[in-house]
């Protein structure tokens, strides 16, 4: 019997579509180069993907602005369409799919049922819990209920953007919708945070491709972000770094220092405390990144970036980089371990405090069901 399209391995799918091995090796070589992986990874990736199953991917959008999805569609290498056609089976995405209403909702239910335990769940946006979850509903269900249900059968959850990773802008003080990151609602599932407001397109597609290729969650940092992309700070890789070392700083956006391309630290650049790949992968197909365009980094891939003081004040005058700054997930784990978190951590952001209070009132849903 001819297997269903979704059961085909990536290699079978490619051959069916007339994609030669050479073409696929070339594609993977381009991806490896764009992701700054060692050059032997390209052919190795092509080899592994040949026999890898095309995973079902479900993309759910909650309290978000669709900026992350816009970013996703602008990935140059790999392109989103090459992923959809060759590597993954995108079974639900309310922004992209032709289906609507009942048809779309039944596609979601079918994908979750048929691929239970195996699908990759992508979440875009924070999860509002105020008003019984009523601030964000789709198909008559609240985001928080949809997330609880969809997370049950997921092999892994990829949080695209700072909102689903850390709460983002909706989570910022005073958080009127009582919004939370995915990690506050779901436990006991592998979570990969691809933060950024929005994340770099190639970091989104690269993380997905890496997961499909290896079938494993990549190495993550303490905020659950893939180390391959979030391993160094913007400042570490910044081409203006030598000016920082020499003490040459722009003081205003139109002074001589700014014209000479000096360091933007005093104009509020958050590069030294921000982990992301902007300085190497860059944006718009490798054209440039904010600092190259003359504006400091705003730290959009870090937890709580919106609540840490002015984007235009130097780091030394803001709440950035204080000892004990923790991700929501870390605070949860500490709280679960019975540590009096405030004292143990030293300084904890206001957001983390709110999260502890929420956790004490709402036990982690999946914990409760499995335990």
């Amino acid at each position: 019997m001819q297997p269903l399209a979704d059961e085909l391995a990536v290699g079978d799918m490619l051959r069916q579509n007339g994609v030669s091995r050479r073409r696929f090796i070339k594609y993977c070589t381009g991806v490896a180069s764009a992701m700054a992986l060692p050059p032997w990874m390209g052919p190795a990736m092509a080899q592994q993907l040949q026999n890898a199953p095309r995973p079902s991917v479900i993309y759910l959008s909650f309290q978000e602005c669709t900026g992350c999805f816009e970013s996703f569609t602008r990935s140059f290498s790999p392109t989103m369409e090459s992923l959809i056609f060759n590597v993954i089976s995108l079974d639900y995405d309310d922004t992209l799919m032709a289906a609507a209403g009942e048809q779309a909702e039944s596609a979601l239910a079918k994908a979750m049922h048929d691929n239970y335990g195996k699908y990759v769940l992508i979440i875009d946006g924070s999860v509002p819990t105020g008003a019984g979850g009523g601030y964000c509903t789709s198909g008559g269900k609240s985001a928080v209920d949809t997330l609880r249900e969809a997370a049950q059968g997921a092999a892994a959850i990829v949080c695209v953007g700072t909102c689903s990773s850390f709460g983002g802008i909706p989570f910022a003080d005073p958080n009127p919708t009582d919004a939370w990151p995915v990690s506050a609602i779901v436990a006991n599932k592998p979570i990969i945070n691809v933060s950024g407001c929005p994340p770099i397109p190639e970091v989104i597609t690269g993380t997905l491709l890496q997961y499909v290729t290896t079938g494993k969650v990549p190495d993550l940092d303490e905020h659950l972000r893939p180390k391959a992309f979030f391993g160094t700070t913007i400042h570490d890789r910044c081409y203006r770094r030598s000016f920082y070392d020499q003490g040459k700083f722009a003081k205003t956006f139109d002074d001589e220092g700014a014209r000479n391309g000096w360091c933007l630290y005093e104009l509020g650049c958050k590069g030294p405390t921000t982990y992301n790949a902007c300085a190497t992968t860059k944006w718009n197909g490798g054209t440039s990144f904010p600092i190259e365009s003359g504006h400091g980094c705003i730290g959009c891939s870090e937890p709580g970036f919106w609540d840490k003081g002015s984007l235009y004040s130097p780091l030394s005058a803001t709440d950035w980089g204080k000892a004990g700054e923790s991700s929501p997930r870390q605070v949860l784990e500490l709280a679960a371990g019975g540590i009096v978190a405030g004292a143990a951590l030293g300084v904890v952001s206001a957001g983390s405090g709110r999260l502890r209070q929420y956790r004490s009132e709402h036990p982690l849903d999946i914990d409760a069901e499995e335990g």
Binding site: G11, R22, K26, T29, A32, Q50
Partner: protein, 151 residues
């Protein structure tokens, strides 16, 4: 507001080291190592040129140090790739471009032939099946012709 010509951009000449930039000398000595290993039966090795911080001057210095060799191959798959043997036998300068002509990877590969040129056995199996079915179509067409002529 300053005019474009007033924005100071100073291009500094690369530091000379035996006529080449320091980065270029490092790449060349890595290539010597790789060539020796591959020539003695080691596995093929590759350098990703885009991962190296090189100025345009460094690049042209590297190109002129390596020169052009006897073979140039063109691969047409989602855009054109060129695989040029350099003047150094077994050292290939590979440029992969996508359908829009954008450079997606630029590599230096040390190998008897670049790996991507070899046909894959999986593709050959699929191709032999396709060729066989073409043969069967030809046979059955010929049989129909004969039948029509006889009757």
């Amino acid at each position: 507001m300053s005019r474009l010509s007033e924005i100071s951009v100073r291009i500094e000449a690369p530091t000379r080291l035996g006529g080449l930039g320091g980065g270029v000398a490092a790449v060349l000595s890595e290539l010597v190592d790789m060539l020796e290993k591959v020539a003695h039966g080691g596995e093929a090795a590759t350098i990703d040129l885009r991962s190296l911080p090189m100025s345009p001057e460094d690049r042209s210095a590297l190109q002129s140090a390596l020169g052009h060799g006897e073979v140039q191959a063109t691969l047409r798959a989602d855009g054109v790739s060129t695989l040029q043997e350099t003047g150094i036998s077994g050292l290939w300068w590979i440029e992969h471009r996508d359908a829009r002509g954008e450079l997606i990877a630029e590599l230096l590969e040390v190998a008897t032939t670049p790996a991507i040129l070899a046909a894959s056995t999986e593709d050959m199996v699929a191709a032999s099946r396709a060729l066989r079915s073409r043969l069967e179509v030809t046979h059955s067409a010929a049989a129909r012709m004969t039948h029509a002529t006889l009757s």
